[in-house]
């Protein structure tokens, strides 16, 4: 029994131990995807949400389900379709008859009222329905018929994207993309991983996931760990480094940012990026770096933490132009160039 379990504030060591424990439980079911699982958990403890992108069959839904089971938190899944309405996810007022026979309007909570929400193939719903998630993700509240309903923390939204079936889909608007802390890419498994997947899933027994926390203490424990993350210290020079990195994703000629007098100019950005990361990108860098610092047993953020978290935090915030698509340049390449350009400016 560690200190955190006994009701005390968790320590740095508790955090790292709990994190690795959750990770190990998930990997009982999920084969491979070590980096994706780690980034998923980092986003969870950094109080963010995750967009998961991967081709069909790579275990997106399984990953999210397994996380819910391991954390022993309430878990809901919404399959986004083109005819899904906002009220279908937020909830609506319905007429219910009481025991005394009286009928009255009562708020029926939608699937967003949970701790972990999986929005499967979110790009298949209309933008109106997609935007219904905005308030939940950003403010942990839902407003229906003028009444605001609070969501219980921890609240963690994972949305999946299928990158190959684009017909009849509605790409997520930039404003909604920006609200996801990380974009995690699930790669296609290699041969050995695929053999292991087949072995695990075609046998008589499924691999069981042991919950890390009890139902009663799960939310509190996770919130305690999230609070510890915010206590991690960041030197000013490192905050400047993160800000510099985010500014470097903006093309120098962008009319939205004015003159980047002191900014770095990255050729690839100027050539292929139409709009770069917002200040939320810097927040994502710092929060993700704090979790990485705790995992490394430190109470302070290092430059290396920022560099490691940059691809997940900045990729989906960089809007590429037509030249990038025609030249086969993706956002990961741009972020890599940005990190290379900013690295020499460390203090």
């Amino acid at each position: 029994m560690n200190a955190a379990a006994a009701g005390e504030a968790p320590s740095v060591a508790d955090f790292a131990r709990t994190f690795r424990h959750i990770q190990a439980e998930i990997h009982k079911v999920i084969v491979g995807h070590q980096r994706a699982v780690e980034e998923l958990l980092i986003a969870l403890f950094a109080s963010g949400h995750v967009l998961i992108e991967g081709v069909p069959g790579t275990g997106k839904t399984t990953l999210v389900k397994t996380l819910g089971l391991a954390l022993n938190l309430s878990f809901n899944r919404i399959q986004f379709t083109v005819d899904l309405m906002p009220a279908d996810i937020t909830g609506t007022r319905v007429i219910l008859s009481g025991e005394d026979g009286r009928r009255e309007f009562s708020f029926q909570p939608g699937p967003v009222f949970c701790h972990i929400l999986l929005g499967d193939e979110i790009n298949r719903a209309t933008p109106k329905t997609q935007s219904a998630l905005l308030e939940c993700m950003a403010e942990l509240q839902v407003t229906v018929s003028g009444i605001t309903h609070q969501l219980k923390p921890p609240y963690f939204v994972m949305a999946t994207l299928n990158p190959i079936e684009m017909e009849g889909t509605y790409p997520l608007p930039e404003a909604q993309l920006d609200r996801f802390l990380f974009k995690v890419r699930l790669e296609y498994p290699d041969e050995s991983e695929m053999v292991k997947i087949v072995t695990n899933t075609t046998g008589p027994e499924d691999a069981g996931v042991e919950p890390i926390f009890s139902v009663a203490e799960a939310a509190e424990r996770i919130e305690g760990l999230k609070h510890l993350v915010r206590e991690v210290m960041v030197a000013q020079s490192i905050e400047h480094y993160a800000a510099r990195m985010v500014r470097a994703t903006q093309p120098s000629g962008s009319r939205y940012i004015g003159q980047q007098a002191n900014g770095l100019r990255v050729d690839a950005v100027d050539r292929y990026v139409s709009f770069g990361a917002s200040p939320r990108g810097a927040q994502a860098l710092i929060m993700g770096a704090k979790v990485r610092a705790l995992l490394d047993g430190r109470a302070n953020v290092a430059y290396e933490d920022i560099d490691q978290i940059a691809p997940a935090a900045l990729q989906h915030r960089v809007m590429l132009n037509y030249a990038a698509h025609s030249d086969g340049i993706d956002a990961a390449h741009i972020v890599e160039r940005v990190v290379q350009a900013v690295r020499p400016t460390r203090g």
Partner: protein, 453 residues
């Protein structure tokens, strides 16, 4: 109580860490200071050695260019090194960053130094202190920066040694040259030349000042007229060439100071005669030969330059000729004679101070000049004049006195052929002296008689 004690212990540990960061900063700043002192010194000493070497090895123009280039490089180097040293100075924050980087502390020290300014510290602050203190050996000052002495110190010592050797050698060479120059300057000589044989034309402005001329006033007046004709008829040098000449003069003067070379060739003394005028030289052929011999050594002087300098000298009546600057008082007096003095028989030197006048009677100036100097003046043929009729008939005028075929006298001998040396062919043998034959005793009386006759 326990909490306060724990907090005090934490502050002590924190101060310990900050003290270690401070020692890193001190060490880095000491290195920066050393670089700021020794790097410029190294550059300056190297520049001095190079300029000194160039003064001995090259001519004035090359020396000028090299010295300028070396000086520019040295100044740029000094400025750059000083700026680099200034940038190297370190604050606590920078020392912490450097220590973090060199000891792979992943920002622990930087965060601590930053956190020192915060009033409200994080809940993880004690953990950070303990965590950093555990790595105390990693960021010891000697480990972060092992050097106490900058590399520039060794460079400065080496350059000091080289400069000392170079200066010692230069001093020796300079002393020997000065001794040799004094010996050469003491050799007397005063050839004579006929005015009619002089070819007067503007000389290269870069050349050295020329000859001191002694002559009677009439001859000098004619010489002044010839000078004026030459100045008015010949194109003057372009401003660029005059600038170049001045620069070369300056370089030469500096070079002479450094190397101990004579500031200028000792001006040959020349007595000028005018066979066509009232004064007749006794042996113009002899004086022409002497002039030719001297003229081959002397450096012609631009008449423009000479006149400017004469005016400068006239503007400084009490100042004698400075070393390296020709004495132009004669020309100034000459100009006064021809232009300013209404009385042609009056004293042209009345406007010049008596110090600048030189009377060619007796003394070293008259040495060897009894045939050609004052004797060329008909009034003084039979003795010294009691009083010079014109007040001053001795001038120093820089002129070119090299013999030329274009001279005004048809009797002037042609220039001597240039000596050439060609290789002998297979059928030729070098000259060998005849063996000295002994004189027979019977012929000795006859030979002696011939020589006696």
């Amino acid at each position: 109580m326990d909490y306060q004690a724990a907090q005090a212990r934490g502050e002590d540990k924190f101060r310990l860490i900050l003290g270690q960061v401070g020692s890193i900063r001190s060490r880095l700043n000491a290195l920066a200071l050393q670089q700021g002192l020794f790097a410029p010194l190294t550059f300056i000493l190297c520049a001095i050695v190079l300029i000194l070497g160039a003064a001995f090895a090259f001519g004035p123009l090359t020396f000028l260019l090299l010295a300028a280039a070396v000086a520019i490089v040295a100044i740029a180097g000094v400025v750059r090194m000083t700026r680099a040293a200034w940038r190297m100075r370190t604050s606590d924050e920078r020392a912490a960053r450097i220590a973090d980087e060199r000891a792979a502390l992943k920002g622990r020290l930087t965060t601590m130094v930053d956190g020192a300014r915060l009033e409200q510290r994080s809940a993880l602050w004690p953990y950070l202190i303990e965590d950093t203190l555990a790595l105390r050996d990693e960021f010891a000052a000697a480990r972060i920066e092992p050097r106490r002495v900058s590399r520039w110190l060794w460079a400065a010592i080496a350059s000091c040694a080289v400069a000392a050797v170079a200066m010692r050698v230069a001093y020796g060479v300079r002393t020997s040259r000065l001794t040799a120059n004094n010996r050469v300057a003491s050799i007397p000589g005063e050839p004579s030349v006929d005015l009619g044989d002089l070819d007067i034309r503007p000389a290269d402005p870069s050349l050295e000042p020329g000859t001191e001329i002694d002559a009677d006033p009439a001859t000098l007046r004619k010489l002044a007229e010839k000078l004026r004709e030459a100045q008015s008829g010949a194109p003057k040098g372009s401003p660029a060439s005059r600038l170049m000449a001045n620069a070369r003069d300056a370089a030469k003067a500096l070079q002479n100071k450094l190397t101990g070379s004579p500031a200028a060739e000792p001006a040959p003394r020349l007595k000028l005669t005018d066979r066509k005028g009232g004064s007749e030289g006794k042996s113009p052929g002899k004086s022409q030969d002497q002039a030719r011999a001297k003229g081959a050594q002397e450096s012609p002087q631009n008449s423009d330059n000479g006149q400017q300098q004469a005016e400068q000298n006239a503007a400084q009546p009490n100042g004698g000729p400075t070393p390296g600057v020709p004495d132009m008082s004669g020309l100034a007096a000459l100009n006064g004679l021809n232009n300013d003095d209404p009385d042609p028989n009056g004293s042209p030197g009345q406007n010049t101070p008596p110090d600048s006048r030189k009377v060619p009677q007796g003394g070293p100036l008259g040495a060897g000049g009894s045939d050609h100097g004052s004797g060329s003046d008909p009034q003084h043929l039979y003795g010294d004049a009691e009083k010079p009729p014109l007040g001053n008939d001795t001038f120093k005028i820089p002129v070119e006195v090299a013999p030329s075929e274009d001279g005004s006298s048809n009797t002037a001998p042609p220039s001597p052929p240039q000596r050439t040396r060609s290789a002998l062919n297979a059928n030729q043998a070098p000259d060998e002296p005849f063996e000295r034959a002994s004189i027979p005793a019977s012929d000795r009386v006859t030979i002696k008689r011939v020589f006696e006759r």
